[in-house]
């Protein structure tokens, strides 16, 4: 019984779960303290098992104007702190973040007190929450990204948990950032609380440098955060507030009505999950397009003054939402739909306080429905994949068979060279076809994983870690052989740096991150069934080229460098062979490696 579409609306239930925990109220409390007591700084606190870091919302450094929406690439501006996020797919823009926010974070980061205190906090608590209000929230997000990028992949006994909770914080980066974060499986580590009319989270949807009163707005907010109860002399003019609201709404509308999945131009985009709260309740959405639309619709119901004041109301909203568990809350508006899903949508709409406003109710309902999970549940997908795996296993078995016969054959070339130098024969073309089918399957697995269609712990499940490793060790040599056979290295560059398919790198990572209980260092008694370094042959090919170059090179310095690399490879390969971490095809008499060893000794003795 496959349910094709999710039978229940879940964004409200998730918000209810979050609200029942102390995490929201504890985070807000600390943000309040940070705002009032440590402008431009941060506070830390420990509550039970959880460590909290709250960045103050008052963070303007001199002449910098955080209102300007300049994006900078993380790779160049990030000081190397965010390495895993540098990668992006072809045709995509580089990962970019807000320039001034990054600057603010970096200046905090290099201060020694910050580093020391962070380390101390991490030693004390196994879970860390990074939080902040307004701009403090954007800084918190960067801090969380830094932690996630640099935590050891497997720290014993269990990795530190990181969660970032922000309140009314401006957007941080572009769509590439969101995609990169999803690929790293960090989408669930960010929760941005957004109140119904607060204009701050929506500001960066509009190109702002032209708006001159932004300074005034920020100034007003900062004053209010620092001393919430004082009667402020400074106020924005009503016309200015109205103009700002109109301006933002205009740009947001364009974006919201755009039917595309993600913007192609450089602009800001949501990251992680968003908790929308109103007086009536809350809901939690992670679908980015729905988030943009919801931001638009909710803002439409606001007024010039409410869109400013709502930024300062998080204390009330959080307090309200966190006690809702106690009372029954039933559906008020007329007839309830019979379908579970529709009823859930109606309830969620009620919680957003938008059901009564005719102008937006319909659009809001559509927006929620867009966020519905269509297609099978992740668990079901995983189960279907397992069946598909058993269907393609015969192809893998055939390749195993092929390897065995290559290794036994009379020409003593071994698996790699047999395939590389193959004539067209039926057996070999079957191997080629099977190789292609397996590649197709595994690329599909990666694709599903990155689109969040598979369970979150999929890449940690022993079955898949082991199967992908076995596939990689068996088939990557064939991929390498094909690459060099077709002379691709002369066109694109060597396999290791330019030709390696992404799935193999991912499998490397899965294998490295697997939970390994005490390593028993057993000596091998026979050669391994498969060479344990799947890129071994690519290294051989590079070493071959070095030898050729060395033969013709006259420049002493260049030659010396070449020999360093050559000797390095020789040592590495020899060690591998001695510990029998290679399959016997490596040491076959006529294999590329064996030939290389002969040439190496010959050339070396010539040099003497």
């Amino acid at each position: 019984m496959d349910a094709e579409a999710s039978p229940f609306e879940t964004s409200e239930m998730l918000a209810a779960f979050l609200a029942s925990t102390p995490l929201l109220s504890d985070s807000w409390r600390l943000c309040d303290v940070a705002n009032a007591t440590t402008p431009r700084g941060f506070v830390m606190s420990v509550v039970g098992d959880v460590g909290y870091v709250a960045f103050s919302g008052i963070q303007m450094a001199g002449s910098l104007d955080p209102g300007c929406g300049n994006l900078v690439p993380l790779e160049s501006a990030g000081n190397g702190l965010f390495l895993p996020l540098h990668r992006h797919n072809e045709g995509e823009e580089p990962v970019m973040v807000h320039a001034e926010m990054l600057h603010l974070y970096l200046s905090l980061h290099i201060s020694s007190t910050f580093q020391i205190q962070m380390l101390a906090l991490m030693e004390q608590s196994k879970s860390i929450i990074i939080t902040g209000h307004g701009i403090g929230g954007a800084i918190a997000s960067l801090c969380a990204l830094w932690l996630l990028c640099n935590l050891p992949a497997v720290s014993s006994p269990s990795p530190t948990q990181v969660l970032c909770i922000t309140f009314g914080s401006p957007l941080l980066g572009n769509a590439s950032l969101s995609r990169a974060v999803l690929r790293e499986r960090w989408g669930g580590n960010f929760c941005h609380v957004v109140s119904k009319h607060d204009i701050m989270p929506r500001l960066l949807f509009a190109p702002l440098p032209s708006f001159s009163h932004l300074h005034g707005l920020l100034h007003y907010w900062h004053l209010s955060m620092a001393s919430p109860s004082d009667n402020l002399v400074f106020q924005l003019r009503n016309e200015d507030k109205a103009e700002l609201l109109r301006f933002v709404l205009l740009h947001l509308q364009v974006l919201a009505l755009d039917e595309q999945e993600a913007p192609t131009s450089t602009s800001f985009w949501p990251l992680g999950s968003y908790l929308f709260c109103s007086q009536e309740g809350a809901m939690c959405i992670d679908n980015a397009v729905s988030v943009v639309k919801m931001m638009h619709l909710m803002l439409m119901t606001g007024s010039p003054s409410s869109c400013i004041e709502d930024h300062l109301m998080y204390g009330d909203y959080v307090g309200n939402v966190c006690v809702q568990f106690l009372k029954q809350r039933s559906f008020m508006q007329g007839d309830l739909p019979e379908s579970s899903y529709e009823a859930g949508v109606a309830l969620a709409l009620q919680s957003s306080g938008m059901d009564i406003q005719e102008s937006v109710a319909g659009a809001a309902e559509d927006c929620l429905k867009m966020a519905r999970r269509m297609g099978r549940t992740p668990n079901l997908n995983s189960a279907k994949l397992a069946i598909r795996l058993s269907e393609i296993n015969p192809y893998r078995a055939q390749i195993e068979w092929y390897k065995a016969s290559c290794d036994e054959s009379d020409d003593q070339m071994g698996y790699y060279d047999c395939f590389k130098q193959r004539e067209t024969s039926r057996r070999d073309s079957t191997v080629d076809l099977n190789r292609y089918k397996l590649a197709s399957f595994w690329n599909r697995v990666i694709d599903m994983l990155e689109k969040n269609e598979l369970p979150h712990d999929f890449h940690r499940r022993a079955k898949w870690v082991n199967t992908s490793q076995f596939y990689k060790l068996l088939v990557e040599p064939l991929e390498i052989a094909e690459y060099y056979r077709n002379g691709m290295h002369r066109v694109n560059g060597h396999y290791l740096s330019h030709g390696r398919e992404r799935r193999f790198e991912i499998f490397d990572r899965w294998w490295r991150e697997r939970r390994v209980s005490e390593e028993e260092n057993n000596q091998r008694s026979k050669f391994a069934s498969l060479t344990q370094d799947s890129c071994f042959w690519a290294r051989v090919e590079e070493a071959k080229e070095w030898l050729d170059e060395a033969r013709q090179e006259s420049d002493r310095k260049v030659l010396a460098l070449l020999w360093e690399k050559i000797n390095g490879f020789e040592r590495y390969a020899r060690k591998l062979v001695e510990s029998k971490e290679v399959s016997k095809d490596v040491v076959a008499r006529n294999s590329s490696y064996s030939k290389w060893v002969k040439e190496y000794s010959a050339l070396k003795s010539q040099m003497m």
Partner: protein, 501 residues
């Protein structure tokens, strides 16, 4: 002694208790089920509890479902009674207030008219409800299929109580009606939602009620037994969502749900529990449909592959390990097909996506045992052929797939065998490991105990027909290794006779 005599007199035994007494009754019933019900008495016991705190966790509930014992347990719960919900809060969170609550209970149970509730009652109720909310909403997010990754992250930041309900629950609405519920996921939701406040006025009332109602079972049930107004909640997935009465069958159900104060959200959660139950049954039907494929693949292995191996005069284990011919390749393909099907079943079990009683069903236990005996040796042969023991470690500790572990446990449970005793399907792994140790003829003394144990087991299994005789063929790995053992050992070995023949 009293229990034993009741059994011999063929009387049904009822274990019962109020509050903590209920927990003890549960444990007593379990003791009875283990000791008597499986062997002597065929008359099931009954366990009736009143206001009993939660006693077991999810695995406990699952195990009772597997044995089909869940229906022997009936728990009565007054609508606001706080004791059945207590343990939804982790103990450290209620420690402070608990002292005075306990004192109140102690006073009230000896003297009915004992005074007012302690002032901590309101805070206490709030804390329990907050934690119950976390447990219930977390469970509901999973029931409803939320795929948001935030769910997992937040869960790792808080402590959720592991206690879960099991068995049949009967909720007393407070006006004489009784509502029966058997689905444990639904019971969990009901425990939370029925205790919510309906209005401002109730803020002060309910905490008091939550304590007083713990002592109200006698009077409430007397009224109920006279009224005989019982609603049995089945078909949860189609529960009415709206509180308005619609007429017909739904009307009675609806008034019961209203009397329990269930909001629209509460009803959606109950529906979700019902949908999950239906899905589990659907999964079971799908798996049952695969039974034929399993039989077919296994039949082919058993007949044609065995026959082929017999012709070659080596056992299936060694033929498969050598992988010389087409037939061996085909056998490998069958093995891989079966692996796919069984892994799917095991995966569903791990995620609780099959009905609880699946692992106890006779047909599947037997199928699993046949699969294990036929195919695990081939899996082991594959493992050692590819030298995975040198990559990863010994098969038994590092390489054994769950589909074999589980099916072995099923059999051991069903036939009341000691754990790990049904090892007839993977003794080859032990042979391979011992061979590595004694290979150079020197390591025998170290592993002597293991060798002796292995020999005793092999003798038992061959004689009992659990292991095929082809393992004793002259060219088999087993025999070839055994022949390398020291002479003095071979002379006294219990399987020397078997091997000679």
């Amino acid at each position: 002694y009293q229990v034993q005599s009741a059994v011999t007199d063929r009387k049904q035994i009822v274990f019962t208790g109020h509050s903590l007494g209920g927990s003890i009754a549960i444990l007593a019933t379990l003791w009875f089920l283990e000791k008597f019900f499986k062997s002597d008495s065929k008359i099931p016991p009954l366990c009736l509890t009143f206001g009993c705190p939660l006693t077991g966790n999810r695995i406990f509930s699952h195990a009772l479902g597997r044995e089909n014992w869940a229906s022997y347990f009936i728990h009565f719960v007054m609508r606001y009674d706080i004791v059945p919900r207590l343990l939804l809060a982790p103990i450290p969170s209620i420690e402070q207030e608990f002292e005075s609550i306990l004192q109140f209970f102690a006073a009230k149970s000896t003297n009915e008219s004992a005074g007012g509730v302690p002032e901590e009652a309101s805070d206490f109720h709030m804390i329990v409800m907050r934690n119950a909310a976390s447990v219930a909403t977390h469970a509901a997010c999973n029931l409803m299929g939320s795929t948001n990754m935030l769910l997992e992250t937040v869960t790792s930041f808080i402590a959720l109580s592991p206690y879960k309900p099991f068995g049949t629950y009967i909720f007393c609405t407070g006006n004489g009606k009784l509502v029966v519920l058997r689905n444990p996921d639904a019971v969990l939701q009901l425990l939370f939602y029925s205790s919510q406040l309906g209005s401002e006025r109730e803020v002060a009332e309910i905490p008091c009620l939550s304590l007083h109602q713990h002592f109200g079972y006698e009077s409430e049930l007397q009224e109920s037994l006279e009224m005989q107004d019982v609603v049995d909640l089945k078909q949860l997935e189609t529960l009415p969502l709206s509180a308005e009465v619609t007429g017909g069958d739904s009307a009675t159900i609806n008034s019961a749900l209203n009397d329990l104060g269930l909001s629209t959200r509460a009803r959606l959660c109950l529906r979700a529990a019902g949908v999950l139950e239906k899905r589990k049954q659907g999964n079971k039907r799908n798996i049952d449909a695969k039974e034929k494929d399993i039989h077919n693949a296994m039949n082919e292995l058993e007949t044609s592959y065995r026959a082929y191996c017999k012709l070659r005069k080596v056992g299936c284990y060694d033929a498969f390990k050598l992988q010389k011919n087409r037939q061996d390749f085909d056998a490998n393909l069958k093995r891989l097909t079966l692996t796919g099907i069984w892994d799917e079943i095991i995966d569903m079990l791990k995620r609780y996506e099959l009905p609880d009683d699946f692992e106890g069903q006779r047909a599947w236990v037997e199928l699993g045992t046949r699969y294990r005996r036929l195919v695990e040796p081939l899996d082991i042969a594959n493992y050692y052929r590819h030298l995975k023991n040198e990559d990863t470690g010994p098969y038994a500790t590092k390489g054994r797939p769950k589909r074999f572990r589980y099916t072995q446990r099923w059999r051991e449970h069903a036939e009341k065998m000691p754990a790990e005793s049904s090892g007839e399907s993977h003794f080859w792994a032990e042979v391979e490991e011992l061979q590595a140790k004694t290979g150079n003829g020197e390591g025998f003394e170290e592993v002597k105990e293991r060798v002796l144990k292995l020999e005793r087991n092999i003798q038992k299994w061959v004689n009992g027909g659990e292991v095929e005789k082809d393992v004793l063929l002259e060219e088999s790995t087993l025999v070839k290794w055994w022949k390398t053992l020291p002479q003095h050992h071979k002379l006294e070995s219990c399987i020397s006779g078997l091997i000679k023949n």
